[in-house]
């Protein structure tokens, strides 16, 4: 990241920031044992930044949880460990041990099985082990249609099941945080932010993000219409395929074999913002898992995928 000049927040961002801080404080005040789901992406980075502000001068009163699938970009893991150390935060990393033993991966088993075992099931295991009653995440309503209806405090029945009809109305920010034993809550402090707001805020507040968001020359592979960065040797080359050095950046973070890049020369924050202003393609376009089947996100959500 190139250093940009810090700038003051627009009234719009100030309002979103205040709302996010209020939601985080509400979570800390209302739940016995919350956890922040830290996915290392830009949205998580914003939530983490808001959490630092919400509880200053104190420390963040809950741990960070990262679900590592075994296929995370190496740059993400390096960034994660560096940030956790800088912030002196408690970081918990969990990988599904059964999936690991069975060698589950996106290349051998396909994206659906991989995300189910190493993503959804791993998250459930980690939530069970920690006994968390509230899990804070960085999902936004503008990301996808199924998320547009998501509550800020999203109620989960035992087993983390999301039932569209069981969701509680949210009036005036008077959140109903009451849950029975075995139930839990997912909390989304940046529900009302758009992708642009996130970048605008990251730029204004100079929040560190994974370098993959900025353009660089990277070893790329073209496969099924997507640009995949071959982050290690586990992805065999098919006949005729070859790795070429290209200027690319990523718009979302995920497992490297499932995350498409696009060609870009946006090396600085301001250049990324300029690129976004002109973009005519949606953010999740580069995510190979969402396009599996129609309404796939809603189905994943019901099953407990974040």
């Amino acid at each position: 990241m190139q250093p940009d000049q810090p700038r003051s927040l627009s009234p719009h961002l100030r309002r979103l920031e205040a709302e996010g801080i209020a939601i985080l404080r509400e979570t800390a005040a209302s739940f016995r044992n919350p956890v922040l789901l830290y996915s290392i992406g830009k949205d998580s980075s914003v939530v983490l930044h808001l959490a630092m502000k919400a509880f200053a001068p104190g420390r963040i009163p809950f741990p960070l949880l990262h679900i590592a699938t075994g296929w995370d970009f190496r740059a993400m893991l390096e960034f994660r460990d560096r940030r956790a150390a800088e912030l002196n935060a408690k970081l918990i990393v969990h990988t599904n041990p059964d999936g690991l033993a069975r060698g589950i991966g996106p290349i051998t088993h396909g994206s659906q099985v991989h995300m189910d075992v190493m993503g959804t099931q791993a998250l459930r295991q980690a939530l069970d082990m920690g006994g968390y009653d509230a899990a804070i995440g960085g999902a936004r309503r503008d990301e996808e249609k199924a998320r547009a209806k998501e509550r800020v405090f999203s109620h989960r029945a035992p087993g983390y099941v999301w039932e569209p009809r069981g969701q509680r109305p949210e009036l005036w920010g008077l959140y109903n945080t009451r849950i029975a034993a075995g139930e839990s809550m997912r909390v989304f402090p940046i529900s009302n932010w758009t992708e642009f707001d996130v970048w605008d805020y990251i730029a204004a507040e100079q929040i560190p993000v994974v370098p993959l968001y900025f353009a660089a020359k990277r070893p790329m592979l073209r496969r099924s219409g997507a640009l995949i960065m071959r982050d290690d040797e586990r992805m065999p080359l098919e006949p005729g395929e070859q790795v070429e050095e290209m200027w690319v950046r990523f718009r979302t973070m995920g497992d490297w074999p499932l995350t498409g890049a696009h060609e870009s020369r946006a090396e600085t924050m301001e250049q990324v913002l300029d690129e976004l202003r002109l973009s005519r393609v949606s953010e999740r376009h580069g995510r190979l898992i969402d396009n599996d089947q129609e309404a796939s996100m809603e189905r994943k959500k019901r099953e407990g995928y974040f």
Partner: protein, 619 residues
Amino acid sequence: MDGTTLSRGLLRLLTCGSVDDGKSTLIGRLLYDSQMIMEDTLAAITRDSRKHGTVGEDVDLALLVDGLEAERQQGITIDVAYRFFTTPKRSFIVADCPGHEQYTRNMATGASNCELAIILVDARKGLLTQTRRHSYICSLLGIRHVVLAVNKIDLVNFDQQVFDRIVGEYATFAAGLGFHTMVPIPVSGRFGDNVSARSGNTPWYRGETLLEHLESVSVEEELTQIPFRFPVQWVNRPNQDFRGFSGTVASGAVALGEKLVVAASGVTSQVTRILGPAGEQERATAGDAITICLADEVDVARGDVLAPMADRPAVADQFAAHVLWMDEEPLLPGRQYMMRIGNLWTTASVTTLKHRVDVTTLDHQSATRLSLNEIGLCNLSTAQRVPMDPYAQNRLTGAFILVDRFTNRTAGCGMINFALHRATNVHHEHFLVDKAARAAALGQKPMVLWFTGLSGSGKSTVAKLVEQALHRAGRHTYSLDGDNLRHGLNRDLGFTDQDRVENIRRVGEVAKLMVDAGLIVLASFISPFRAERQMVREMLGEGEFLEVFVDTPIEVCMERDVKGLYAKAKRGEIANFTGVTSPYEPPEAADVVLDGSGPSAEALAQQVLELIERRMSST
């Protein structure tokens, strides 16, 4: 999408109307026209249009916003959804609210956070019950700016007379709703007439397009001009050297050095520090998330409200409010609910349901309960005194939600009209001889043994045996029995749900007086609802309420049918008979469960006596 050139800031609006009025299509049109739709999304809905769409070969813009699989299949929007779009002049959050009758609660949810409402009317159908209902809810929830979008104007041949007639009717209806602006616009969501571009089909319409109006309308509430209110959300105490009160400024402004009062306790102190998201600041205004430090070690907890000395909120445990009911289970006066106002949770119940509002005519009707989607004017009573403002003066300190104590569902929402000061004039009398003194004189621990179970389960039989044994042992007892009380104190009550609630409330109060007198009370009541048994438990002191569940299967009760009531109920001669035509909710954690189908009544009584013995000998 440049966030820095916005001149008017954010507008939160909601759309409401009936099923098929075309809300989703209109929002889809706004998103499409403001170029918020990305190419891949458009390609996906073009594909979906062939599968689910209702507009033939065109792209069905409603598919941009109808998110969930179920509603795509049913063709209706079943939940509130939030959409975001930005024009060079303003950014918008749209709450897409359902028109389906049973989802009125979602509309109220959307309205609670919005400044403007677009009320959609299908030009072919004119005003419907739902149009009136939604307009009234908008008004009740404090929305002051309305756009009347007369949609599908293409389907009435862009006829000005149709438009004028609908606008005239609506203006008459809405006259009493307190809207500051009401702007009617003829539109076609499907073809885009007067949405973002002026239509050549409606030369008779000279007003703004919908988008022009949304970009220019001024809705700035003078939130900073009304008195300072700071509901404390979280006490920040990381170490011995720092103690701050975190929260979001609900209204007004505060500056360093100002004197504040803790509304409920009346304790005052001075602001020494204000910490904002960017560090120390000298003042803060409505909407700011801050942490305040005070000069003195005052007692402040989550739920307290900090306010200026000279302009405090009312603090009361009784108040009048409009309640909008959102739960399948109706609101019953006397039943206790959890209430959240600001950051404070307490228990509350409706003491008087003054009237229900007919949302079509706005007439007042008498009512004994509020069902799903009904609105009523109520007096409420809370377990503790709470700070509050009238909703019309402050949307954030005058609003509350009611939560079902057992399901935790958000069951209702309320807007406070005014605090009732009766309570402050009726003080409790304190006597020198108190409960402890009377109990000591009798040499026993006062308590209530609450026998609950179906009619014919054996409650009274066991209670009688227990009382005889206690009496023999020299204990001072009294029996309260459902049938006996219904001949006297409760003779005015029937067997509807709300009368059952009141019946138990009165019994609870009587039992409480008797416990105060030092007695061991044996109360035998079917008391079918958990909520009321819980209510009585909470009227009494810790450990004074012992729930005895006489668990006899209904088949056994029917078989016994000592009073011949089951036979009558089965013949339909008794309405609302527990177990037959009215529900019984078994206790989840009774202090003792008696198997009413097996052992003898004497053996069951022995179990209860052992419970009493344990209670007597505990400290």
